[in-house]
Subunit: 344 residues, 2 copies
C-alpha cells in the first residue's frame, strides 16, 4: 500500500469514527423511545465498555436472531412453506402423477381447507419432494428463481423486501459494536442462506437453521457433487435451537431475539448465562401495519408463530423484554416512510 493510500485510509477512519460517536446520531432511528429501545442501548453500552463490570470480550460477542416473525414477515404462512407449495405445482407439470396423489393433490388444487389439516406426515412428504434429491447448487438456483418472481399477497412485493427495518438497525448496531450476528431459524438453513447475505448482511456461515443431510458423490462426468437428502440432521426449533447453537457456533449467546414458542429454549439458554444477557421477543400486535397474533394478551390465535400466554408469563418472570410492534416501532419496513407512531 502506498503512503497516499494509507493517508486516505486514515482520513476515512477519522471521518467514520467521528460519525459513529457524533452525539446526534441515533443507531436505532426506527425505534420509539421506550423500554425496548432503552434495553438495546443499555445492553450494548454495558457489554462493550471495557470499564463496565458487564464487559464481554469481543470473541464472545454472539447475538442470535430467529428469522420468521423476528426479522421478516411470517404471516399468513412461513415463506419457505409457500416456496415448497409452489415447487410442488411446478414439479407436477413434469410429473403429472403427483396430481393424483395426496398430499400433493391438495396443494396443486390449492385446497386451503385440506392444507390446513396437514399433519407432520404430509408436510414431511412435501418437504422431501421439494427440498431434497438435487445438488445443493441446483436447489440454490431454484430458490433464487422463485424469490425473483414471488410476491407477498398483502404488499405485492418480493418477500425479501419484507424484513423489519427496526431489526435491520439492531443487526447493524450490534455488528458495529463487535457482535457477531447469527440467524438461528426453524426454517431451512440452505433456504435462508440464499438471501441472508444480501438482505441482512449475514454471511452463509452465520446462518443456523433446520438442516437436512447431504451426501457426497460424483456426477456422470466424475465431478464431486453434494446431493440434498430427505433426513433432517438438525431440527432447529424449540430445544433444537440451543442444540444448533452449540453445534454451529459453540458459544452461548449474550443476546437472543425471537417471537414465538419455538424460540423459548434459545432465550432460556441465553438468559441462563453468567453476566449481563439480553433476551427479547417481538409481539405482533399491529394488525393495521403488519399482523396481530398471539394468543398472548388476548391477541388472535395463530398456528404460525404462536406466542402463547405461557411464553409471555415466562418472559415477564425472567425479565425478557417484549418488543411491542405498535408501541416500539415507528416504521415497519424499509419502504415505509419514517413516521413516529403516537406514544402509548
Amino acid at each position: 500500500m502506498r503512503a497516499t493510500a494509507i493517508l486516505t485510509l486514515c482520513l476515512s477512519l477519522l471521518v467514520s469514527f467521528g460519525c459513529a460517536t457524533h452525539p446526534g446520531s441515533d443507531p436505532l432511528p426506527s425505534w420509539n423511545q421506550g423500554p425496548a429501545k432503552q434495553a438495546l442501548l443499555d445492553f450494548i453500552a454495558e457489554t462493550t465498555d471495557p470499564s463496565s463490570p458487564s464487559f464481554v470480550p469481543p470473541a464472545e460477542r454472539i447475538a442470535t436472531f430467529d428469522q420468521d416473525g423476528t426479522l421478516w414477515v411470517e404471516q399468513p404462512m412461513y415463506t419457505q412453506v409457500l416456496y415448497c407449495f409452489e415447487r410442488v405445482r411446478q414439479l407436477a407439470s413434469e410429473r403429472p402423477e403427483l396430481k393424483d396423489r395426496e398430499p400433493f393433490k391438495s396443494v396443486i388444487a390449492g385446497d386451503r381447507e385440506a392444507i390446513a389439516k396437514f399433519h407432520t406426515a404430509e408436510l414431511t412428504e412435501i418437504l422431501a419432494l421439494t427440498l431434497s434429491g438435487m445438488p445443493v447448487e441446483v436447489f440454490e438456483q431454484q430458490v433464487k428463481a422463485w424469490l425473483a418472481t414471488a410476491r407477498h399477497p398483502r404488499w405485492n412485493r418480493p418477500y425479501t423486501e419484507l424484513a423489519y427495518q427496526p431489526m435491520l438497525e439492531v443487526l447493524r448496531f450490534f455488528r458495529t459494536h463487535g457482535y457477531q450476528t447469527y440467524i438461528v431459524t426453524g426454517g431451512g438453513q440452505d433456504f435462508v442462506r440464499v438471501f441472508a447475505e444480501d438482505l441482512y448482511s449475514i454471511p452463509r456461515e452465520k446462518v443456523v437453521g433446520s438442516a437436512g443431510a447431504t451426501k457426497y458423490g460424483h456426477d456422470a462426468q466424475g465431478h464431486p457433487v453434494l446431493t440434498k437428502q430427505p433426513n433432517l440432521i438438525l431440527n432447529d426449533n424449540y430445544g433444537g435451537k440451543p442444540e444448533g447453537i452449540h453445534l454451529m457456533i459453540g458459544r452461548r449467546p449474550y443476546a437472543a431475539f425471537g417471537n414465538s414458542t419455538g424460540d423459548q429454549q434459545m432465550l432460556e439458554y441465553t438468559g441462563a448465562g453468567s453476566g449481563k444477557r439480553l433476551a427479547m421477543l417481538v409481539l405482533h400486535d399491529d394488525a393495521s401495519r403488519e399482523f396481530a397474533y398471539g394468543p398472548a394478551e388476548g391477541l388472535p390465535d395463530s398456528k404460525v408463530g404462536t406466542f402463547t400466554q405461557a411464553l409471555y408469563d415466562e418472559a415477564q418472570s425472567k425479565g425478557w423484554i417484549i418488543i411491542r410492534m405498535k408501541r416500539d416501532w415507528n416504521r415497519i419496513f424499509p419502504f415505509d416512510a419514517a413516521v413516529p407512531s403516537p406514544a402509548p
Copy 2:
C-alpha cells in the same frame, strides 16, 4: 474516540502496513524455497490481487485445514483417542465394574495387542463412555484438565506444543490476506474447540469436526443444560468432510490442506471449484525429526493417518501439491531452532 487516540491508531496502521509490505519480510520463514512454498505464495498473490483473473472476493475466501497430521502430530496415536483411553482409566476408579468388561478391560490393562485389534464396535463403546452423558461444559473442563498434564511420549511435552510451526505460519499468512481459516477434522468438534483458539487462533465457531448430538434439558435446579449424546450427527471423515463443510460453512473452500485418505474428498471438492484452487497434502517422510509413514512412496504403512499410493497418484494427476516434511520444512515445532535443512 478522541482525536489523539485516532491519530495514534492511524500511525500504528501506517507502521503495520509498512511491515506487511516490507520486501525483506518472509511470511513463511519455516518453509524452504521449493514448489510447496512457491504454491502458497502464488496462490495468495493471485487470489487476493484485485487485478488478477483469479481474484477471490473477501467473503468467499475460505481455507480448510485437517487437524491430526496436518496441523499437529498424530503419531503414534490420535491425541483424542489417548484422551479417551485415559478417561476410561479414570472412570474405572469410580466404576470398578468397568475393569471386568471389554473393551474397557483391555484399555485399563494397557493391553496394546488387544487394543490394536479393536474394531468400530469397541471404539464406539469407548467413545460413548468418555465423550457423552455429561453437560458440554463439564466435558470441556475434563479435556482442559487432561491437556494440562498429559505429555507426548516422544517429546515429553504437552500435546498443544506439538503443532507444526510451518502450518501455524500458513494459517497466519492466509488470515493476513483475508482468508477465513477453518479446521475440518475427523476428530471431535467439541474436543478440538477446547484448544483451537489458543493454539491456532481459530475460534470455536470455525472448528468443524465429528459431532455428537446434544440434548437440551434442565438440571435439578431448573437451569438449562446441554447434555452430550452418544449418537453422531456428523462423521467428519471422507465424504463427511465436504458434507460437514456444507453444513457448517456453506461455501466451497478455495484452499484445503490434509495428509491422509480421510481428506481425499475434501481436496476433490475444493479442487473441483471454478477459478484457482489450492489442494495440499502433508507427507510425513521425516522419521528423525517427526515420523515417517505412508504407505505412499514405500514409506512404512500406518493405520493412523494413512497416506495411500492411490491418494498420492490422485494428487499427482490432479495437481495437488505434496508438502514433503523433510524437504519443505526447515523447522517442525515452535520449540525447534530454525535451522534450514539441506536442499533436496
